[in-house]
């Protein structure tokens, strides 16, 4: 039985995105013709860790991000916007070096054709200076925006040294959500997982449950995050949480090894485990469809 993209999207609402791997997406010219005014897609890139060096882990550490930029630019149809979900730069203990890395990162991503680019920090960007350098280059660390009927919320769970959302931001979130209808389409971006994915490896947010509790009354909520350098798909109730691949080095599956270390480079499969994703958004039915790409821009 052949399932076309629209039938496939009907399988799930926005809170439980479907995976369009192997199927056409809005980024494919042929399917773009089917799109309505309410349909669009965005691209999520994550954990680029600009400034990281380590031959055994990524011998092309200065080239991988540039390849990803080129791959996104080569999509037949360009996304409405691009979201970077944190760890734009790799941590450095030197404030000046941090700014140098951010400047270099900013320069590289300026080559993206799409100019509607959104950023948020990871702990490598903001954990040591409470986001001071990040704000200088990229603006606020938490904010909202609306696009074609979807409400996007960017939550910062890294700038506080304790890696929490924090009381003030939770109050801000509560106030923002009160303006939404129960059936509003809401997409949340975070760096760390809001739920307890694997606390032994710090793959959680200490007060993330409070944010999830605030989101629970809303029927159409999806969370996209980074931090763990691999795909992961998990639901807390009706809220789906989707982790993205990174663009510097993959990490092992949660709890699969005693110590969390980057997975070494595989010369026979270069760039394995690295990539980005596109997310198709439709209004009727209210749904999301995720497609994963490798660094070359080939759909997986």
């Amino acid at each position: 039985m052949k399932i076309d993209r629209r039938d496939f999207l009907k399988l799930a609402g926005i809170g439980s995105a479907v995976f369009a791997s192997g199927l056409g997406g809005l980024h494919d010219l042929t399917n773009r013709a089917l799109a309505t005014e309410d349909e669009f897609f965005f691209v999520q890139l994550s954990d680029t860790h600009w400034g990281f060096t380590g031959q055994a882990v990524n011998p092309d550490s200065t080239g991988t991000l540039k390849k990803a930029v080129e791959a996104v630019n080569n999509l037949k149809i360009q996304p409405d916007f691009i979201m970077f979900t944190g760890d734009l730069t790799h941590v450095t203990d030197d404030d000046k070096d941090r700014r140098t890395r951010m400047s270099q990162f900013e320069d590289i991503v300026s080559a993206l054709k799409v100019k509607n680019i959104r950023f948020m920090p990871g702990e490598h960007d903001a954990g040591l200076d409470e986001g001071a350098a990040f704000k200088e280059f990229f603006g606020k660390t938490h904010y909202t925006f609306d696009h074609k009927g979807v409400h996007f919320i960017v939550l910062d769970n890294v700038s506080d040294p304790t890696s929490t959302v924090g009381k003030d931001q939770l109050e801000w979130l509560s106030a923002d959500l009160k303006k939404q209808k129960k059936d509003s389409r809401i997409v949340v971006f975070t760096h760390r997982p809001l739920f307890d994915l694997y606390p032994d490896w710090d793959w959680y947010t200490r007060d993330g449950a409070k944010a999830i509790e605030m989101l629970m009354p809303y029927l159409n909520v999806t969370v996209f995050y980074g931090h763990i350098h691999q795909e992961n798909h998990k639901n807390t109730g009706h809220i789906a949480h989707h982790a993205a691949k990174g663009l510097m080095f993959p990490l092992p599956a949660p709890g699969s090894v005693p110590v969390k270390n980057p997975i070494p480079w595989n010369a026979s499969q270069p760039y394995k485990g690295l990539g980005f994703r596109s997310v198709d958004v439709t209004a009727k039915p209210a749904a999301l469809a995720i497609a994963e790409f490798n660094v070359k821009g080939e759909k997986l």
Binding site: G127, V158, P161, D200, D202, N261
Partner: protein
């Protein structure tokens, strides 16, 4: 005379409050083991700790530089290690084994390696 006595009582209460409120004043219970641990970028000292099952322990953390964290999820204990004070964590080990702990407040380039183990014996 009475007012002097009252003043002395008040002063005494204030001094007691200050002593109890400051980290320098601490008395371990009779059977409590006290272990002092320093934390700095990017290590604990000591980083290997051996405890006895069922014997109450106080871990006394001191940071030598910045905010660090201590978490041992397998034993269900964690604490922020704030500089400028002694940070005490009381607990009773209730199971035997070797349990990893690590810093869970992002502290810099060596953060991922700031780890240790607690071994609990019978």
């Amino acid at each position: 005379m009475k007012s002097t006595k009252s003043r002395l009582l008040v002063y005494g209460a204030v001094v007691a409050f200050i002593l109890i409120s400051t980290s320098s004043y601490f008395v371990a219970a009779e059977n409590e083991q006290v272990i002092q641990i320093t934390a700095k970028r990017f290590e604990y000292s000591p980083k290997e700790i051996t405890l006895k099952k069922g014997v109450p322990v106080v871990l006394e953390f001191t940071s030598l530089d910045r905010l660090h964290g201590f978490t041992c999820p397998s034993l269900g204990i964690r604490m922020d290690i704030r500089p400028g004070k002694v940070n005490r964590l009381r607990f009773v080990p209730d199971k035997v084994g070797t349990f990893p702990f690590h810093c869970d407040n992002f502290c810099g380039s060596g953060h991922e390696g700031m780890r240790g183990t607690i071994t609990v014996t019978e």
